[in-house]
Each structure stands twice: as structure tokens, then as C-alpha cells.
Symmetry: C2
Subunit: 297 residues, 2 copies
């Protein structure tokens, strides 16, 4: 248990130049900044990163650049790798393993919204058997509001039992505390990360791993401080920090998460490229920036 994955993890925003190519300078600066401010790990190419709007090629190149630039160590990375085809998920996951990443965060194949737990088990077990390496550490990524298909507590437990050294974590972005709790209870071998810091304390009280949250792009120092208190079981101290943290989270959520975070970055850095999002998302409204910033002062 002591080696299990824990911490505050930033699903790193992906900034774009005006031609919508990745803005590498902004990316490296932001990723490094998240670590300096207290993130334990980075998850490039999660939902907050507009992961699915980036081709596998770009995603692999960016991971390599994060490491080769000295911005991040590979063992601080837990990139998103879930595509629909097993071949593409395999390519991204194997690449992460070969780089020495701490883990991979893997969506279910989300075109198949009516797939059974048996079919999903078949998908993940074939992935694991094809990679054939204990260096693979999978964080199952549950975000049914986007994928239309979730990863049930029972499936998580079954995968952990079959592959105890490999299926070791679960990101719950459903916002449904009952599901988070059910995974923690049903799959005790798995480290569960709520997708919002609002559930960090409640999760850690019963064995949760911390959080992987969009707001770790904008408020990671405060979230890390709360995590540190929770990790010491200083629940009252942690709880005292929560209202302010929740207020910021709410402002970001009301602004639609990614646009709000990007508008805030544009406001903080003065670099308007931060307002760019790739289609089908629309660019961020610059007016959101100063509004969201008020919840940080």
C-alpha cells in the first residue's frame, strides 16, 4: 500500500498558437509551473488538455519534449492514452512505458457506448497482455458524461484482481461521490483519484489517492497544501482550506472549465494565444479571465 500512487495531479492544459499548432513555449512554461507550484505528477492529454483534439503523433512528441527539455522527469508523467482502437491505445501506452512514465490514464473505447463489462475487460486485458510489462501502471479513466460509457466499480475491481501490479488507479471525473466511494470500497487495491479537489478530503479519509483535477492548472499550490494536511490526517486543517478552494473551482466550472482556465492564463500571462481552443470547442472569452482571477486573490 505504501507505494501506491498518490498526490495532486495536473491534467495539463494544451496551449495553441493562432494557427492552432501546439504553442510549445507556453506548454513547457505552464507544465513546469504546475510542478513548481506543487503538483506531484502531470497528466498531459486528459480531458482538460483537449486530449482527443490532438493526434497521437503530437501527443507523443509533446511528452518527449517535456522530458528532453528538462521540464519534467518521465516518472512525473501520467499521460492520457485512451483511444478507441486497441492499436492506437497500445501505441500511446507502450510509448509512455518505454519513456518511463509513472503511469497512463486510459479511457474506455468510448464510441462503444453499449459495450458490456465483459467486452471492456477483454479490451483492457488485451492491452495489458500486448504490452507485457510490469512497468505499465494503468489509471482507469471514468468520465461517463463525455464517453457515454463508464468503468464500473466491479470492473475496476476485476481488473485490479487480475492485474494487481498494473491496474492500480482510477480517475473518477463523474462528479458522483457515490461512485467514487464505491470504487474505493470495492477495489481496495486501487488508488482512486476524484476529478475534483472538492472530494479530495472525503476520498482520502477512506483511502483515496488525492485528486486529478482541472483546477490543478490554476490553483495547485492551495490544493497541494490541502492534500498535505489530509495526508497527515489533519482533517480540520484541510477542511478549513476547502471553502476558498471550492469557490475557485465553482468559478472555473461556471466558465466551462477549459475556456475559463485558458482565459485565466491569458489574463495572468498577457499572452492572448492562451485564448485559443481547437475545434469543435470555441475560443475562450477574454472577459472570463479577470473574473476567475478574483477567486484566487
Amino acid at each position: 500500500m505504501k507505494d501506491r500512487l498518490r498526490g495532486v495531479i495536473t491534467p495539463v492544459l494544451t496551449p495553441y498558437n493562432d494557427d492552432l499548432g501546439i504553442a510549445i513555449d507556453l506548454y513547457l512554461e505552464h507544465a513546469g509551473g504546475c510542478l513548481t507550484a506543487g503538483a506531484h505528477y502531470l497528466s498531459p492529454f486528459g480531458t482538460t488538455s483537449e486530449a482527443l483534439s490532438n493526434a497521437p503523433r503530437e501527443r507523443m512528441e509533446m511528452l518527449e519534449l517535456l522530458v528532453s527539455s528538462g521540464t519534467v522527469r518521465a516518472d512525473q508523467l501520467m499521460p492520457g492514452t485512451g483511444m478507441n482502437s486497441l492499436e492506437e491505445t497500445l501505441i500511446l501506452s507502450r510509448h509512455a512505458v518505454e519513456m518511463g512514465c509513472a503511469g497512463v490514464m486510459t479511457l474506455p473505447p468510448f464510441f462503444y457506448v453499449t459495450a458490456s463489462d465483459e467486452g471492456l475487460y477483454r479490451y483492457f486485458s488485451q492491452l495489458i497482455e500486448a504490452i507485457a510489462s510490469d512497468a505499465l501502471k494503468i489509471c482507469l479513466y471514468h468520465i461517463p458524461q463525455n464517453t457515454g460509457i463508464g468503468i464500473s466499480p466491479t470492473l475496476a475491481a476485476r481488473l485490479n484482481q487480475a492485474f494487481p501490479e498494473i491496474v492500480v488507479a482510477y480517475k473518477d471525473s463523474s462528479g458522483d461521490w457515490e461512485n467514487t466511494k464505491a470504487v474505493i470500497e470495492t477495489a481496495p487495491g486501487i488508488s482512486v483519484f476524484p476529478g475534483s479537489e472538492s472530494f479530495l478530503i472525503d476520498g482520502m479519509k477512506i483511502g483515496g489517492g488525492g485528486c486529478i483535477s482541472a483546477s490543478c492548472n490554476s490553483n495547485v499550490a492551495a490544493i497541494r497544501a490541502m492534500f498535505d494536511q489530509a495526508a497527515l490526517a489533519q482533517w480540520d486543517a484541510a477542511e478549513a482550506m476547502l471553502p476558498r478552494i471550492k469557490q475557485h473551482r465553482l468559478a472555473i466550472q461556471q466558465g466551462g472549465l477549459i475556456p475559463a482556465l485558458k482565459a485565466l492564463k491569458a489574463y495572468q500571462t498577457g499572452d492572448a494565444r492562451w485564448l485559443n481552443l481547437r475545434p469543435p470547442l470555441e475560443n475562450a472569452d477574454p472577459n472570463l479571465g479577470p473574473e476567475v482571477a478574483k477567486t484566487l486573490t
Copy 2:
């Protein structure tokens, strides 16, 4: 209008060997058989083809093989090309244009279930502007039960008005006749293909293009005969064929579409490889084959 895309189109099943690689021999035989039996066009890598379970690489290789083997002419192909990232959709669509395909069938970027019509317009218009060829003919692919996001009649009309030579068709797999009708009425420049032959006659009566239907893998001769009567406005003759055709469709739907079609192929050909599906789908039950076959005799 006379040149608009019309006909009976088969979204070709993808057969797999026992190691789950594409069974090329079965694929070419089946694709050729669909054309011989009456399909006007083939749509490799639609939903019935388990499209999203095949990597872009495999999809492009298979299209090239269909043509180089002499099985199909490129102008008889309308492959699926919709991925989430614009780069991947662009690669697949440009490849189809360069091959000389009749069109491409393109999903919306389906991870983004809350994208606005404005955002989707931005996605499709950037795709079209990047390809920059009037040889591109897009069939918008509406299948909200899988994608979680649809292509509204208004968006279809807007895209057709902006790109009248390029956005020329719409596949409606929703099974919602009101939507099919609304697209035909709202976007008269677009050729609308219901995803089921059950709506072929009703659609063609008001200007629809035919159908692109899973059952064109198993029953294309009958569907083509019905189309031919409808194309001559021999509505009574067409209607007389419909009950039998619907009975077969129902049997396939009840068997879960892809597994039922594959079980039927396994039964008809005696080749058990037809029972294979890629995960997260499960293999077909061989007992379905003879049952479904009864609705064809």
C-alpha cells in the same frame, strides 16, 4: 440535382482472423459480393464495420487493397473518416480524396458531446478548407446514440450553403424519422440517407437519396430491388417488398446488428472467423446465424 449521390450503400463488415487482424480474404470476397448483389456504393469503416476499432493505418491500407485487388473502383467507395482530432480526420479524408473515392462519411468529433453547432461548424469548415479540393464530397454522419452529439438539420443546411459542392450528403442513423424529414426539408441541397432501409421509401418520396444500412451486408439484392422501384416512383411495387425486408432487418436488430450479421456470414460461408469481433465488442454467437437466415429464405 441529377448528379446528386443516390443509391443503396453497404457499410461493409470488417472480418477478423482469430488473432484479430483483418481477414483480408474474407473482406475482399464480402465487399465484392455486396457490389455484385446490387450495392451502388460501399462505405468501408462505418459503425457496422467496427470502424473505430480499426486504426487509421489499417483503414487506409484496406481501402487501397480494395482497389488494387480489382474488387472495387475507388469511385464506388465512400469510407468513414471521422475521428476526434482534426488532424486524423484530415489524414483519412485527404487519403480518400487522393484515391478518387466518391465521398467520405464523417462523424462529428464525438468526445465533445457538448460542442455547439458553432464549434462543429468550425470543425467541418477547417477540415474542408485544409483539404481545399472540390473532389471532396462529405456525407455528414449523424448517429447520436453512439456519438452523444448529433448533426442538427440547421447545421447540415448551413454547411451545405457554405460548401454546396462539398457537403452534399447526410447519413441519419438515429432511427428518428422526424430528424430525417427535417434534414431533407431544411437542407434541400443535401442527399439524405436513412440508416435503415425501413425509411428508404418514405425518404425517397420527399427527395431522400436511398439508404446506407447495416442490412445491406446481408440483404442488398432485395433492398436494391426496392430502391429501383422507388427510383421509378413505382411506390406500390416498392411498398410490396417492404414487409419481408423489414422482417429481416428486425431479426438483425434483435441480434445486436454486428454480431447478428457476422453470425449469419459464418453460417452462410462456413467460415468461423466471421464470428470474431474486436474488443470492446464480444464475439458473435454462432446460434444467431441460422435464426437470422430464416428471415432471408
